[in-house]
């Protein structure tokens, strides 16, 4: 283990969902940053340059797709692995997310917090 923990950003407007994943990722010894809206997430991501971003889609004001587009346009985050966590399972939504530059699209209800947490290892090299 390195001294510096892997930095994970959670962008999620559902407070309970956010709390659930924060708890699990903390337990797995990651440094967890959280944002409850798209705008906030964008700000934190550019500033903190996390190693991985979990991004929700359905959010008021700025939705996940827009956040994704903007993150890919930012120098600091254009190569950051982004995993979409959404409960929309329509094919066109999944395609849209991947087209816009997401590395993976996961449907929340089909994965346990553990499985989601294990994705960090897939995308972040130690």
């Amino acid at each position: 283990m390195k001294e510096e923990k892997i930095k994970v950003l959670l962008i999620e407007d559902e407070k309970e969902v956010l709390e659930l994943y924060r708890l699990k990722l903390s337990l797995d010894d990651y440094e967890v940053l959280t944002a409850e809206s798209g705008e906030e997430g964008l700000k934190v991501a550019v500033k903190e340059k996390p190693d991985l971003i979990y991004l929700d889609i359905k959010m008021p004001e700025m939705d996940g797709f827009e956040v994704l587009q903007r993150l890919r346009a930012e120098e600091n985050t254009k190569n950051t692995p982004i995993v979409i966590l959404s409960n929309f399972d329509e094919q066109d939504m999944i395609e849209k997310g991947l087209t816009l530059g997401a590395n993976e699209y996961l449907i929340k209800s089909q994965f346990t917090p553990e499985q989601i947490s294990s994705k960090v290892k897939d995308w972040v090299k130690e």
């Binding site: 559902e14 309970e16 969902v17």
Partner: protein, 862 residues
């Protein structure tokens, strides 16, 4: 002269002064000589100016005076002008110097007094005012007399002396004598002047006369002629024979007339044809009269010839007409004779013809009696004189109508006819018109026999030889068959037309666009729906290819016309049951359409036409997409609490949440379980609401309506939610209209509670800290309005119109933990509408929102 005879009576002579007498006598003799010489000169035709000069000389000489003068009265009668004078100073000028008339001069006074004037001493003269002329010449004595003119006084003759002198009567007589010579000369000159004038007048009359006026000598040689004749000048004619200008055959007549005038001395009249002014021959009536010398001997003849050609021609015309008339009378007479003969001939044949006519009549009667058409004849007074058997049959004549007047029959039809009838005309009107000579045709009569018959009637006047109407003929034809056939055809036509109209109406009014293509895939017809869809009128579309009119394509690509469904139908000869496309109209509007094609084949199984039906399915498509969107969002919403529940439970099972051995671990587990429970509850509500929405949308929601007091329901809900509001530090105010207190509404109590809960729940969630919630009722007319007002963030204007739609949530909920489903307002609206009410929102962002709904009041509480 009188004065001369008086000489001897002069008293001076009687006094015996012989010397004086002798001198006086000589003096007077000289005077007489002077007068005689003057008179002689006047007779010789001396002109007046010379004569007056001579006269004043005579006066100086004869009277031995200093001055002599002749004054002529000017036309103005106001002044006199000096015509001649002697002894006067140089400034007195002949023809220039004038003096005043009247009592302002001696001459004037002479004229006024109308007698000779003798002035012994001008200085003592009182009868007239001495004129400056006399005074300037220092005249003392003078005499003056009038020179008379043809009508009025011509002027004055006077003589004057510088020394005083008594003029004698002889002097006056001498003066008068000279004046008389002047007067006679003046009169003669005047006479001459007027003679000359009248001669001129006569000449112009003669020359301008339309008649020929000429004089001839006894042998007929022309001496004078007033006009040109035969194109010759007057001078050329003079000296020629008058007979030369008359046609040869009339010369004897003319000669005889002349001879008779010379012989009898009486004027004669004769008529000849002769030359006119230009040589054209005309008729002349001439009067010839003798002109005699003083001795009574005839010196020459005057002839006046008047052109009477016109009268002559008129006379000839009359003569000709008379002859013509006579000729005609003769002709007519012979014609009449011939006619008379013919008449005799005709009478001879008449009996033959009558027999023939009798036969004809019989023949005609046969025809009348056997024809199918009904016939009637009326006499001049409108009585029936004949009817045929067909008429009896057609009208059902039930008693004798011969000799009955038509008026009577028309008035009492039921008496004469078995069958009732209806006519298209006014019977009596028709009769009147026909008897005035006008035929009336196509009168329709409906006869109520069994079966009903239709008769076409024609009425014609019967004209006598003098063209007067002597009767009426009526003919009646049974047209029942024709009429029923015509009616049947009309009926069928109408039926066909109705059918066609019906199809046309359907074609035009169906929502589906229907169009027909010919063999070449060109449009031959399309209905209004197609026009609306394409933006082209039928006229614009006809003749175009279907793909030029309907721009159908798939979402991503346009059809190439060769691969279009139409092509497929024409190629495979198979109908195309259904296909969905996007259609772009002329103005670029895109709509979803469902299209089907059905070919119509001819006997050789080749496509004759193809009917396309195109229907706008945009709203269905939209509904579909709304539905799938609802499913998508609903499943998303359902998955969220499931994710939380599953997630925490998996953490539990994995032991991530400790073993619960210590209090800290147990506390965490309790807290997690609490969360799971909350999510389960949320899931339950969500499922419940989704079911409600589903029921509402499918119309399966049944209301259990009961008469309730809305006030009670409000109080109940407020009581239930009071703790929640208080927990958020909110003040909940209830303000109920006193008028609504006893009013009842017909509602489903539970559903109404749900509406109020939803509205109050929102008012709590979206309020600000220490905010206020007001629940109010207001009675207006027959409706009851309930409103829920908050002091929260309000709803963005862009969202206000959609706030009652499914899954629409306003941002800024105060209580983040208690997220709604986004279905509350949709359900509230649906429920209120099911209660025949209305729901509204009024909101100002930053100030708060006010939701209100109205319900009809059904009765007052007992």
């Amino acid at each position: 002269m009188k004065s001369r005879t008086n000489v001897v009576k002069n008293p001076n002579i009687l006094r015996g002064n012989l010397l004086d007498a002798k001198g006086e006598l000589q003096f007077h003799l000289r005077q007489q000589k002077i007068v005689a010489e003057l008179g002689l000169k006047a007779l010789k035709g001396l002109d007046l100016d010379s004569l007056v000069d001579l006269a004043v000389n005579s006066l100086i000489e004869g009277l031995n005076v200093d001055f002599a003068e002749v004054f002529q009265l000017l036309d103005s009668q106001a002044r006199l002008v000096l015509r001649a004078g002697l002894g006067w100073k140089a400034d007195v000028r002949i023809g220039k110097t004038t003096i005043a008339a009247g009592k302002n001069s001696q001459a004037g006074f002479t004229l006024v007094s109308r007698q000779p004037v003798i002035v012994e001493d001008l200085r003592a003269e009182a009868r007239f005012k001495a004129p400056p002329l006399l005074l300037r010449h220092k005249v003392v004595s003078g005499i003056s007399v009038i020179v008379s003119g043809p009508e009025e006084a011509w002027g004055v003759l006077g003589a004057h002396t510088k020394t005083k002198r008594a003029f004698s009567r002889e002097d006056v007589a001498f003066l008068q004598a000279v004046a008389n010579i002047l007067a006679s000369e003046i009169e003669r000159k005047d006479l001459l002047l007027s003679l000359n004038l009248s001669k001129e007048r006569f000449r112009s009359v003669v020359e301008s006369a339309p008649d020929f006026i000429f004089t001839v000598d006894k042998k007929g040689k022309i001496q004078f002629i007033n006009r040109t004749i035969s194109g010759l000048k007057k001078a050329e004619v003079v000296g020629t024979s008058a007979f030369d200008y008359v046609s040869v055959e009339f010369r004897t007549i003319m000669r005889r007339a002349f001879e008779r005038v010379i012989k009898t001395g009486l004027p004669q009249t004769y008529e000849v044809k002769g030359d006119g002014p230009s040589g054209k021959s005309s008729w002349y009536q001439s009067n010839v009269a003798p002109i005699r010398e003083k001795s009574g001997k005839i010196s020459f003849l005057t002839v006046v010839s008047t052109d009477v050609t016109e009268q002559k021609e008129a006379q000839e015309e009359i003569l000709r007409s008379q002859m013509e008339l006579e000729k005609r009378v003769f002709e007519r007479t012979s014609q009449l004779q011939k006619l008379n003969e013919n008449l005799k001939h005709e009478i001879h044949f008449r009996s033959k013809i009558e027999r023939h006519l009798e036969e004809e009549k019989n023949k005609m009667e046969m025809i009348y009696n056997n024809t199918k058409d009904g016939l009637t004849l009326y006499d001049q007074s409108g009585r029936v004189v004949y009817i045929n058997p067909s008429l009896k049959r057609l009208f059902g004549v039930k008693r004798n109508i011969l000799g009955v007047s038509r008026e009577e029959i028309v008035k009492h039809r039921e008496k004469y006819f078995e069958y009732r009838q209806e006519r298209s005309d006014e019977s009596i009107d028709t009769q009147k018109k026909v008897f005035s000579g006008e035929p009336i045709t196509n009168v329709m009569i409906k006869i109520f026999s069994t079966p009903i018959r239709h008769i076409e009637a024609n009425y014609l006047p019967i004209l006598g030889k003098d063209k007067s109407v002597i009767g009426m003929i009526g003919s009646f034809r049974d047209v029942t068959m024709l009429k029923t056939q015509a009616e049947k055809i009309t009926q069928q036509l109408l039926e066909v037309q109705r059918e066609r109209n019906r199809w046309q109406a359907i074609f035009e009014n169906v929502e589906e666009g229907i169009f027909v293509m010919n063999k070449e895939k060109r449009i031959v017809a399309m209905n209004g729906a197609c026009e609306t869809m394409t933006g082209l009128s039928e006229e614009e579309a006809i003749g175009k290819y279907a793909h030029q009119v309907f721009h159908c394509h798939n979402i991503n690509s346009s059809y190439h016309p060769d691969f279009s469904p139409v092509e497929k139908v024409y190629r495979t000869l198979e109908p195309l049951p259904y296909d969905e496309h996007i259609h772009t109209s002329v103005n670029g509007q895109e709509r979803w359409v469902g299209v089907s094609y059905n070919p119509i084949f001819d006997e050789k199984h080749e496509i004759l036409q193809c009917v396309g039906v195109i229907r706008d399915i945009t709203s269905i498509k939209e509904l579909e997409s709304a539905k799938s969107e609802f499913v998508s969002i609903a499943s998303h919403e359902l998955r969220t609490p499931l994710t939380i529940i599953n997630g925490y439970l998996s953490l539990f099972i994995n032991g991530d949440l400790g073993d619960g051995a210590d209090i800290r671990s147990r506390m965490q587990q309790m807290s997690i379980l609490n969360k799971v429970y909350k999510e389960t509850k949320r899931l339950t509500i969500l499922v419940e609401e989704l079911l409600n929405v589903s029921r509402i949308e499918e119309g399966r929601l049944r209301l259990k309506l009961r008469k309730c007091s809305l006030e009670e329901i409000i109080k109940e809900v407020v009581f239930e939610l009071q703790p929640l509001a208080s927990a958020q530090g909110l003040e909940l105010k209830v303000d109920l209209d006193s008028k609504t207190k006893d009013k009842l509404v017909l509602v489903d109590r539970d559903k109404m509670k749900q509406v109020l809960v939803n509205l109050l729940d929102n008012a709590i969630k979206y309020n600000r800290e220490h905010g206020v919630i007001r629940v109010k009722t207001r009675w207006e007319n027959t409706r009851l309005e309930t409103s829920v007002e908050d002091t929260g963030v309000g709803i963005p204007i862009s969202l206000q119109s959609r706030i009652f739609s499914k899954f629409q949530q306003a941002p800024g909920s105060y209580i983040k933990e208690n997220k709604g489903t986004g279905l509350g307002l949709f359900i509230a609206k649906s429920l209120i509408e099911l209660h025949a009410g209305k729901i509204n929102v009024r909101s100002k962002p930053g100030e708060g929102s006010r939701f209100s709904f109205t319900l009809p009041i059904i009765a007052a509480e007992n």
